[in-house]
């Protein structure tokens, strides 16, 4: 059995705002990225737009049990459920499957900083660490750090309880979450599935991770294609991105309209060496790109801006016969587990509008093709993992 898989709901939050329309308008306005350069100077990041959390997480008690990344996830999942028009159908929600791509939650930076200073002065560090952590950690912080508690909170707040799985592994978690959700719906193992992820960029501990490989972009260029000094690098971006994937017949039966059709999702991994990213993307494309007319194809890239891999990806994209290329990361920043779902959401917007949004970097993003029927979404993990997806116009 192979079902058509429709995207019947999109939730998207980022520095550009919330929802489909706000993002489409912002991407078309060409006003450039929204950056916070002060909060963790000298690092710039894309901060989350102001959200009225109570719109999607009505109970203050629920909000208090979460850290920002979880709130972004639960809020954005709610937007997707609203968009799919399923929010008020508890029976459907109780049958709905869910796969969340998640990393770990925020640390309590103030507590870490305080303990670090005390450790420097201590002559029994192990004992001090246990004592301070026991006294300073909030009991509920643990729950706000657990990856599976984004999904757990979505179940609690929105009632999605058919199944609940959380995938981890940075960008690859996003590839595999969408790939698995798509495969299950296509095969009839699931009828409707919520899939996505969320990321909070305002985190010094995440900057620290990227700093260990000199992977933070401190230069001026906004475009991920133009970060050509040193290693290039990422500008982290707060974002939430959730999709409702649904078997076409299931959607038709409840009168739901598709935003787009998710045609294919593929992913792979392997050790990185010169040329490996380009080869991996080409091999993945050969599995899904057969027979696709290049003159109606657009590309939404999830490129990180890390120099070598981004150049290799561009090399691959340039083999696609002039398909217009757009980079989600230039506008939204990099959101690890959430990057692929967010890029997919943007690709679905392009399909629903039948065109790509204006170029942000004239050296790469040149072609203004008007009738885009199919969008290729790319993702290259900053360390490992390559993923591709094809989003197409849905035949209703």
């Amino acid at each position: 059995m192979t079902n058509d898989v429709w995207i019947t709901g999109i939730g998207l939050t980022s520095s550009l705002g919330e929802g489909r329309d706000a993002h489409w308008q912002a991407l078309n306005a060409g006003t450039g990225p929204v950056l916070d350069r002060q909060c963790i100077s000298p690092y710039a990041f894309h901060p989350m737009a102001e959200l009225d959390l109570s719109l999607q997480i009505p109970k203050r008690g629920d909000q208090r049990q979460m850290e920002p990344w979880q709130r972004y996830g639960v809020y954005t999942a709610g937007l997707a459920l609203d968009d799919a028009n399923v929010k008020d159908d508890p029976d459907l929600l109780s049958r709905m499957d869910m796969i969340v791509a998640a990393g770990g939650g925020e640390r309590d930076i103030a507590v870490d900083n305080q303990i670090m200073s005390e450790l420097l002065k201590s002559n029994d560090r192990a004992k001090l660490l246990i004592e301070r952590l026991s006294n300073e950690l909030r009991p509920t912080l643990f729950l706000a750090q657990l990856p599976n508690l984004v999904a757990g909170n979505i179940s609690i707040v929105h009632g999605v309880t058919g199944s609940s799985r959380t995938f981890m592994g940075e960008e690859a978690a996003g590839h595999d979450a969408v790939r698995t959700a798509h495969a299950r719906v296509a095969a009839g193992q699931s009828r409707i599935c919520l899939v996505g992820g969320a990321f909070n960029a305002a985190r010094e501990d995440m900057l620290l991770l990227f700093e260990m490989v000199s992977g933070n972009w401190l230069g001026e260029a906004d475009s991920v294609w133009a970060r050509d000094t040193g290693n290039g690098g990422v500008r982290l971006g707060s974002m939430g991105a959730f999709l409702v994937l649904e078997a076409a017949d299931h959607a038709r039966a409840r009168g739901a309209r598709p935003v787009a059709r998710l045609e294919a999702v593929v992913a792979d991994r392997g050790p990185r060496e010169a040329g490996s990213v380009g080869r991996s993307l080409s091999a993945l494309w050969s599995r899904i790109g057969g027979g696709i007319e290049a003159d109606t194809l657009g590309v939404v890239s999830g490129a990180t801006g890390i120099a070598g891999q981004t150049a290799e990806e561009l090399g691959f994209l340039e083999t696609l016969s002039g398909a217009p290329i757009r980079a989600a990361g230039t506008h939204l920043g990099h959101g690890l587990e959430a990057q692929f779902p967010a890029s997919l959401a943007i690709a679905a917007l392009c399909i629903s509008h039948g065109k790509v949004f204006p170029a942000a970097d004239a050296s790469v993003e040149t072609n203004e093709r008007v009738d885009v029927e199919r969008a290729l979404v790319t993702s290259v993990g900053h360390w490992r993992g390559e993923g591709l997806a094809l989003v197409a116009r849905a035949e209703t």
């Binding site: 049990q65 200073s117 750090q145 990856p147 199944s163 981890m168 592994g169 978690a173 260990m212 792979d268």
Partner: protein, 422 residues
């Protein structure tokens, strides 16, 4: 061979296990059936000031420098080596299918933070900006050990699994979910074989403190081997433990065609999420009942076909009460007579690995027709009317086993195993 729903039957052709009882099926099975506890005072790191100072650490495995990612990878790799070796599906390093890895959260841990602090050369005050300043001098291994993807990536390289490896968590149900994902991939026809691995090496002071702050851990530090007391009236929490298990899953047809030994079949998997609370089950038991029922339905299995239940049985007041209640709802009268036991009474709670470790124990129960006991059942909880197989192993005819896994965050998964079809 297809099941009643027309799907490929899923065979298990290799299994591996590492716990505090030992490395390999032989040591673990002899420990589990002898009623031996692997729980002991923790010596790997200083425990002064911790509320709980005992656990099921695997002290015969060491990695340097110790961190969750590298230890988890090491024990996962040992379990997978045993499983892949037993299956003889291909030489180790060329596994012909995808990898599913249940694993704990990965984070930058205190020892790395302290190494960065030392590099920063500060002597009184420090904060993250000091760490950021020197971070680029960190070793690449420290960076990789801070990535969630590093465990699965290394395992994929070692075992030569195909495609993008999936790292997953459903908290304490993770091991069962890894198996379920493998079953689903084979049922979809994407692959003839899958490697399901679950490992947890997340015992270090901060994680123990986190669980202590939720009042989840037993504090019976004086008699470690008696601290894990599933289904007992005086149970006071679970005992954290390290562990790993791996299963080679294969379509029955593929396994038979190559003449493989079949350890058992996975008849069905079921799951259901709770929407009640972050750490507690809804008192109505609906989600646990739903997972149990979904597993039986998926297996096409009537309640009275179940001959043995490998319990989630953590030994927390809440879990055991809810497990008892839900089994009563789903199995009816049979819940009082079907034998059930908790491996966690001996090996502790291996968290994300538990579901897979208990799957291996379930398969060994089918193989040996012998049920491992629940130890430390000195003071039965009168509210729990289950046959918990106290203290000593029991020989029994076992054709079908139900294995339960229930997680924090409301994620529940159950599996049904049977012997090789006649």
């Amino acid at each position: 061979m297809k099941d009643a729903a027309g799907r490929p039957v899923i065979a298990v052709t290799g299994a591996g296990i590492v716990t505090s009882l030992g490395e390999g099926k032989q040591d673990n099975w002899s420990g589990l059936t002898a009623g031996r506890s692997g729980i002991h005072a923790i010596t790997r790191f200083p425990t002064e000031g911790l509320r709980t100072t005992i656990g099921g650490t695997i002290d015969f495995v060491d990695v340097e420098p110790f961190c969750c990612a590298s230890f988890t990878t090491e024990i996962a790799s040992r379990a997978a080596t045993e499983a892949v070796g037993q299956s003889a599906i291909r030489p180790v390093g060329d596994f012909p299918g995808p990898l599913f890895v249940a694993m704990p959260p990965i984070e930058i841990e205190w020892p790395l933070r302290e190494r960065l602090l030392a590099m920063a050369g500060k002597d009184d005050e420090a904060d993250y900006s000091d760490l950021l300043e020197v971070a680029s001098k960190a070793q690449s291994i420290d960076y990789e050990n801070s990535l969630y993807g590093s465990v699965a990536e290394r395992l994929a390289s070692t075992f030569g699994t195909k495609g993008s490896p999936i790292s997953l968590t459903t908290a304490c149900a993770s091991g069962a979910t890894a198996i379920q994902l493998g079953v689903e991939a084979i049922r979809r026809g994407e692959t003839d074989a899958a490697l399901a691995v679950a490992a947890d090496g997340s015992m270090y002071p901060e994680t123990m403190i986190r669980f202590s702050l939720l009042s989840a851990l037993s504090t019976q530090n004086d008699e470690p081997e008696k601290a894990a007391r599933p289904f007992s009236k005086n149970r006071d929490g679970f005992v954290m433990a390290e562990g790993a298990a791996a299963l080679v899953l294969e379509s029955y047809e593929h396994a038979k065609a190559r003449g493989a030994d079949i350890l058992g079949v996975i008849r069905g998997c079921g799951e259901k999420a709770d929407s009640f609370h972050r750490t507690r089950s809804n008192p109505d038991g609906k989600a646990i009942i739903g997972a149990l029922q979904a597993a039986l339905d998926d297996a096409g299995c009537a309640p009275d076909e179940i001959d043995y239940i490998n319990a989630h049985g953590t030994g927390t007041p809440e879990n055991d009460k809810m497990e008892n209640f839900a089994l009563g709802e789903v199995l009816g009268e049979r819940a009082r007579t079907v034998p059930i036991s908790s491996n966690k009474s001996m090996i502790g709670h291996t968290l994300t690995a538990a579901g897979a470790i208990e799957a291996v124990a379930s398969l060994l129960t089918l193989e040996h027709q012998r049920i491992p006991p629940t130890i430390n059942y000195d003071v039965p909880d009168p509210a729990i009317e289950l046959d918990v197989v106290p203290f000593t192993a029991r020989d029994a005819e076992v054709s079908t086993v139900l294995s339960n896994s229930f997680g924090f965050g409301g994620q529940n998964a159950c599996l049904v195993f049977s012997g090789e079809p006649a």
